[in-house]
């Protein structure tokens, strides 16, 4: 586990299923929880527990984020790793949207960037956010992600169309901070 000033980040395990279910049940849709067809999925607690218990969970690098009081306040991970093109996608799933603007959000993204660039030696990291996730977009922008564009009307939810933005951050040049 990685202990920082405001967070403790560790691999997620089946006991975290209830907290993960809370993320899925959030009022606003989240880009990171859409499937390949950009549809929201509604997993049951049992399915989430099975997913978290599977070996794939470890391979896909899925982590729970705890605050200093030991409360699970979200999840994060890396997925879609392209060995060929040396990039991956970050997932940041904080339960309280307000945490994106604070140290929990910053430390979570920094943890993912350290893993992607420092440990996995990737060249590029992508992040996606729906127009219903302005807090996540601000966090990614503050962390050095630059917009690659907005795909229009990809999701229909809550009686309205939603756009999805893809942001990218390149590996820092040698000698520059991450």
């Amino acid at each position: 586990m990685i202990v920082s000033e405001h967070t403790l980040i560790r691999t997620a395990d089946p006991d975290d299923a209830d907290f993960l279910l809370e993320v899925y049940r959030a009022e606003r849709p989240k880009a990171a929880l859409l499937d390949g067809r950009r549809e929201p999925v509604l997993p049951s607690r049992d399915e989430l527990a099975e997913m978290l218990a599977s070996k794939d969970a470890g391979r896909n690098q899925f982590f729970a984020v705890e605050d200093t009081a030991g409360r699970v306040c979200g999840f994060c991970g890396l997925r879609g790793v392209s060995i060929e093109a040396v990039f991956c996608e970050v997932m940041v799933l904080l339960i309280d949207p307000a945490d994106h603007a604070g140290p929990i959000g910053r430390e979570t993204v920094q943890f993912l960037l350290d893993r992607a660039f420092g440990r996995m030696h990737l060249e590029k990291v992508l992040g996606t956010c729906l127009d219903s996730e302005p807090e996540l977009r601000a966090l990614l922008a503050d962390s050095g992600f630059v917009s690659g564009g907005i795909q229009r009307q990809v999701l229909y939810s809550g009686g309205a169309w939603h756009d999805i933005e893809t942001m990218a951050r390149l590996r820092p040049a040698p000698g520059q901070g991450g």
Partner: protein, 208 residues
């Protein structure tokens, strides 16, 4: 007076199985709904497990593969509509022209145009997307010709021949395709046949 409730809908868990089995064994259940009282509890249980295990309908196909065919030349290529979302009424489009000597812009244009007509007019989709490599200039130009907008540009995103290339994400909304169909005939006597002739003329000019 507003009607309030704290009830909500969720997927069933394994813990709910005994409750559901009990309901389905009730005479009222068989009376008002369905079921066979002669079924053993084990069969009822297995059936319920199957029912509860089903996700929200996957009865509609998630992908459609269409062949581009010609009475004179035979099968030309493949159009694949992937990640069809019946909820979002969207899909992503891939096209491959298998007969290499027909990989002209004309054939590609016709195939893309027909595929788009199929997406919007037959499948009733709202949006068609496509990821096209930046070096495939002919393809993305034709997609733009059909009204698609370049929404996304991903630098150094795909490896080909040892080099990383950019990838563009295109999106075409139904209203934009309809606008192209409405506007172009008025503007220049445009039709699918005219488009084919125009493109064929352009090709002849560029090759001559």
């Amino acid at each position: 007076m507003p009607f309030k409730t704290d009830a909500y809908i969720r997927r069933a868990e394994r813990d709910d199985l005994d409750t559901v089995v009990a309901w389905m064994e009730e005479p009222d259940f068989h009376y008002f709904l369905y079921g066979d009282p002669a079924q053993s509890p084990r069969q009822v249980r297995e059936r319920i497990v199957l029912m509860l295990g089903r996700g929200v309908g996957h009865t509609m196909p998630g992908g459609v593969y269409l062949l581009i065919d010609s009475p004179s030349m035979g099968p030309i290529g493949l159009v694949s509509l992937q990640n069809i979302s019946w909820r979002n009424r969207s899909c992503s489009l891939d096209l491959y022209i298998g007969m290499k000597h027909l990989r002209s812009r004309t054939v590609t244009a016709i195939a893309i145009y027909r595929a788009l007509e199929y997406c919007f007019d037959e499948l009733n989709l709202h949006r068609v997307g496509a990821y096209i490599y930046a070096f495939n200039t002919a393809s993305w130009r034709i997609f733009e010709f059909a009204g698609a907008k370049r929404e996304l540009s991903m630098a150094k995103h795909v490896l080909r021949d040892g080099e990383l290339h950019d990838v563009y994400g295109y999106g075409l909304l139904r209203e934009e395709f309809d606008e192209v169909r409405r506007a172009k005939p008025r503007a220049a006597g445009f039709s699918l046949q005219e488009m084919i002739k125009t493109l064929a003329g352009n090709e002849a000019e560029s090759s001559g």
